[in-house]
């Protein structure tokens, strides 16, 4: 064993920062590896480590990019790991024991792990590549976060996609693109979809489920050429047909990424050849793991085997178990493909005359189940559409347990409470979460170890945090292990993290004990009276709602934006957005704004999406002067509060106008300006159903519908989420609009969770219930709501008045004393 002279520490270098590389590092750390090794990790992608499986979710827009990270860049630093992200390794010198990177840099190692994963397989199709630029700009592969981003961006303004390949990846890509409104055709060479996992009958049923999503499927079809130079026009099939499209996704399979191993003189067949310790034959100090390896002739394309391999390497490397060995994985997979559950293990179809084949096929329900039995043992199973029996079958498959004589019962949940029985039936070793390799035993261990909620078990074990298809089963196992003593995650219902009360309980206590300041709330209601920085902003807002006049203002309990009445920017400067009710301004106002922008060298003057003007990049100490010179009230573009009312020109000017939307917008804004609320409230008033002010997607949207009538919609959104508002009521006058909008906003202020926008609040409460409460006044709440709203309205003071008389020392003092601000670019 080569040891660096003097020091007892070895250099462990990992090439490839994907699911296998990063998992191996984690397993090494879990075995105390931080003591033995200085760890360096190379990753060609410029990120930390993310869950590749969830790229399908990112493509569909159900997960944000940030949600799929397993280890952020910071994690590496925290664990003392030298992460070289964005650096490609060129080759390895196994004799000199150094790694050479693309920029010519070298890094010596004592132990090396190669985890380079796979590359997309590119079939032989004419004109895929532009001779000068690599792939045609409209041709995509689906492997990395960058691939996914590019596809999302391209899908936005293109209409027809062809996905080449009808396996897991191709179907996920197709479903993702279809969710962006594209017309998608899947072109698959073999005779049925997912032929690696499914038999023909199951493939046919899957095809129907995929077609039900509006995706077209061509099986037995070979793509021969792509047509089109700058823009793609379509693809040509071998049978002479032409399919028009403007985007092509290649998902025809993967190939182990072996280039650096080959260049370094390691044995490569289909993958990098390794022994049972995951070592390459050429060197005892070089290991390989993941999709790039070939072990006992097998290569793998799913994560489950990777978890086992990573453990073996870590055991061997750290000496935790020098004889640990990997014996191959009997691939049992459980997947969600384009929303369809698929589980498969072992052989797909009978291979010998004596093999038993039991099939239960229900095309109408999209369900197919089959098992193959040899000599009384389960050697294969396929489940599609309903995978309830998967865990049980997997147990039988992996451990070869004896099967019931009544073979059909293998496929049916016969009588009894099925969930309980099958969870109890599960062996401790049975894998529950394939994505993260978590067994039933590990979940039970977390429960015995004190985790009492499904959420905390998921955090502790990572079960259910991959593709998510096993969440139900995880919950069942937790329940079973806890003997029914599972608890709801209590903090999920608290209004703020620092005080163990729901919003209703909190408000009740605040009223009953007349708690007027944030510090008195902590003293009375927090565990041990401890204050909590992350709870302060929400409590400040709540106290202002509960006590419009009487609350005691504590400046440290406000977020910086609310201390200085402006929105903090990336360099510590602020933006100034004066009120411009309903988006209406005057030449005089514009002149003043222009003068102020000149006088204070404002780097950027910009028209906002909220129909007013933003002065960006103002240093904190200039805020009072800027406000003074503007002489306009605050537009509240920084607060969790009532923001703007967008309007259209309405009856005064528009030839289609049905109501004076501009005036109504101004009236709404004049009345409700600046009100704090659990999250932002953005409104709009449109003069006719053409909806030029986008009223359908506002927290409160108002539309003139003719004959003096107005629709009032609530719960709309078009920011991070898109939702059309629900019609709360159609009313007969602008005055009624103002009253009803106020009543709704007060109800929302009093009942919504912190940071819960109306687009979540309205569907949670239900529009019928809101109508019953606010329009029909079924429980007699209306008068009280109107009254408390009036009180809040009466308490309004323009906060920019504080510029003339700061309320505390140093309120507008710079927080970065040696940094010349602004640093934002000046246009």
């Amino acid at each position: 064993m080569a040891t660096r002279s003097g020091a007892g520490r070895q250099r462990l270098v990992v090439v490839g920062n994907g699911m296998a590389g990063a998992r191996t590092v984690e397993e090494v750390l879990a075995r105390g590896g931080a003591e033995r090794f200085d760890i360096t990790v190379y990753g060609e992608e410029p990120y930390g480590n993310y869950n590749r499986i969830l790229l399908s979710h990112v493509l569909q827009g159900v997960d944000d990019e940030a949600d799929i990270f397993l280890n952020t860049v910071a994690w590496y630093a925290e664990n003392g790991i030298d992460l070289r992200s964005g650096v490609r390794v060129q080759r390895i010198d196994p004799f000199g024991k150094v790694v050479v990177d693309g920029a010519g840099g070298t890094q010596p190692y004592d132990r090396l792990v190669i985890a380079t994963g796979s590359v997309p397989f590119v079939p032989d199709i004419a004109h895929l590549r532009d001779p000068r630029r690599g792939f045609h700009q409209a041709v995509f592969t689906f492997r990395t976060l960058d691939d996914t981003r590019r596809m999302v961006a391209y899908a936005r303004d293109h209409e027809r996609a062809v996905v080449i390949g009808g396996g897991l990846l191709g179907l996920e890509a197709a479903a993702g693109l279809a969710s962006h409104g594209m017309r998608v055709t899947v072109v698959h060479g073999p005779g049925h979809l997912m032929n690696a996992q499914l038999d023909e009958a199951a493939g046919r049923i899957l095809r129907r489920s995929i077609e039900a999503l509006g995706i077209e499927v061509e099986c037995g079809a070979r793509t021969t050429a792509v047509r089109g130079r700058e823009q793609i026009e379509g693809i040509e099939l071998r049978d002479g047909r032409f399919l028009p499209c403007d985007m092509v996704v290649l998902a025809a399979g993967i190939r182990p990424s072996t280039e650096i191993a080959e260049m370094s003189g390691l044995t490569v067949e289909r993958g990098i050849v390794v022994d049972d310790q995951m070592r390459v034959p050429e060197s005892d100090d070089v290991f390989a793991v993941g999709e790039c390896v070939q072990h006992r002739g097998e290569t793998y394309g799913l994560v489950a085997p990777i978890w086992e391999q990573a453990k073996v390497i870590a055991d061997v490397l750290t000496g935790a178990d020098p004889h640990a060995a990997y014996h191959g994985t009997r691939t049992a997979t459980k997947l969600k493909v384009a929303g369809v559950d698929v589980a498969s293990m072992g052989v797909v179809a009978p291979e010998r005359d004596t093999d038993e084949h039991v099939v239960l096929s229900e095309p109408r329900r999209g369900v197919h189940r089959s098992v193959v039995i040899r000599d009384g043992r389960l050697i294969g199973a396929t489940l599609l559409g309903d995978v309830g029996r998967a865990a049980f079958l997997q147990g039988a498959f992996e451990r070869g347990t004896a099967l019931p004589e009544e073979r059909l019962s293998l496929l049916l949940d016969l009588g009894g409470p099925p969930a309980e029985v099958s969870v109890a039936e599960l062996d401790d070793h049975a894998t529950v979460c394939t994505c993260n390799g978590v067994s039933k035993g590990a979940i039970c261990g977390a429960v015995t170890g004190g985790c009492r909620t499904v959420g905390s078990v998921m955090d502790a074990t990572r079960a259910g945090k991959g593709c998510g298809s096993c969440k139900g089963l995880v919950a069942q196992v937790v329940e079973w292990a806890a003997g029914g003593a599972v608890e709801e995650d209590p903090s999920a219902s608290w209004y703020v993290p620092g005080i163990p009360l729901t919003k209703a309980e909190l408000v009740e206590q605040i009223r009953a004990r007349r708690l007027l300041s944030v510090s008195s709330v902590f003293a009375a209601l927090a565990p041990e009276g401890a204050d909590d920085a992350r709870s302060k902003m929400a409590l400040t807002s709540l106290l202002r709602v509960v006590w419009p006049h009487d609350h005691v203002d504590e400046r440290d309990a406000r977020f910086v934006n609310d201390r200085v009445h402006a929105n903090i920017q990336r360099d510590g400067t602020f933006s100034v957005v004066p009120q411009m009710k309903g988006g209406v301004t005057t030449p005089e106002q514009l002149r003043t704004i222009a003068d102020v922008a000149d006088r204070y060298h404002v780097p950027l003057v910009k028209v906002t999406g909220g129909q007013r003007i933003d002065l960006l990049g103002v240093p904190k100490e200039d805020l009072p002067k800027v406000w003074r010179d503007l002489g306009m009230p605050s537009g509240y573009a920084y607060g969790k509060s009532f923001r703007t009312v967008k309007t259209c020109v309405g009856t005064d000017f528009c030839r289609f106008g049905l109501g004076d939307s501009t005036q109504l917008g101004i009236d709404l804004e004049s009345r409700y300006q600046g009100l704090e609320s659990p999250a932002k409230m953005k409104l709009a008033v449109s003069g006719c159903p053409r909806n030029c002010a986008e009223s359908l997607v506002k927290d409160v949207g108002v539309v003139a519908v003719g004959e003096g009538r107005w629709d009032v919609l609530v719960g709309g959104a078009a920011g991070a989420h898109i939702r059309q508002g629900d019609v709360l009521a159609t009313v007969d006058s602008p005055e009624e609009v103002v009253r009803l909008a106020g009543r709704f906003m007060q109800y929302y202020r009093e009942n919504a969770g912190w940071l819960e926008r109306t687009y979540t609040f309205v569907p949670r409460v239900g529009i019928e219930r809101l109508r019953a409460l606010l329009v029909e006044d079924g429980e007699g709440l209306a008068a009280g709501l109107d009254e408390r709203m009036q009180e809040a309205v009466d308490a309004y003071v323009d906060p920019w008045q504080e510029g003339a008389a700061p309320v505390e020392p140093g309120q507008f003092r710079t927080a970065l004393p040696l940094t010349p601000l602004p640093q934002v670019p000046v246009r």
């Binding site: 204050d531 920085a533 504590e554 440290d556 910086v560 505390e808 710079t814 927080a815 004393p817 940094t819």
Partner: protein
Amino acid sequence: MSAEPQVVADLVAGSATAVCRVEEIPPGEGRAFAVAGEQVAVFRLRTGVLRAVSAVCPHRGGPIADGQTDAQVVVCPLHAHVFDLATGACRTGQPPLRTFPVAEADGWVLVGGG
């Protein structure tokens, strides 16, 4: 308030800067100062304790003095990373903030180091 004599002695023995009067930092808030060419954020916690840490967030340069505090931590206003005020350690995976000795003497806030 918290005039830990030893800290004051150390500060005076070494180089200490009187950055402001105690009442110039409102309770629970922070203010930033340049101390010997370093940007330092000084907090007066609601418990009365004074804390001083580097004023620039290691994440993306956020103004730490504008952050919100409790008895233990400060939260950066830009992306809400959380730092322990006593040790500077980050609880959310960023590199730590530097800490500086700080104490009150005769109503002045003294910051050492730099």
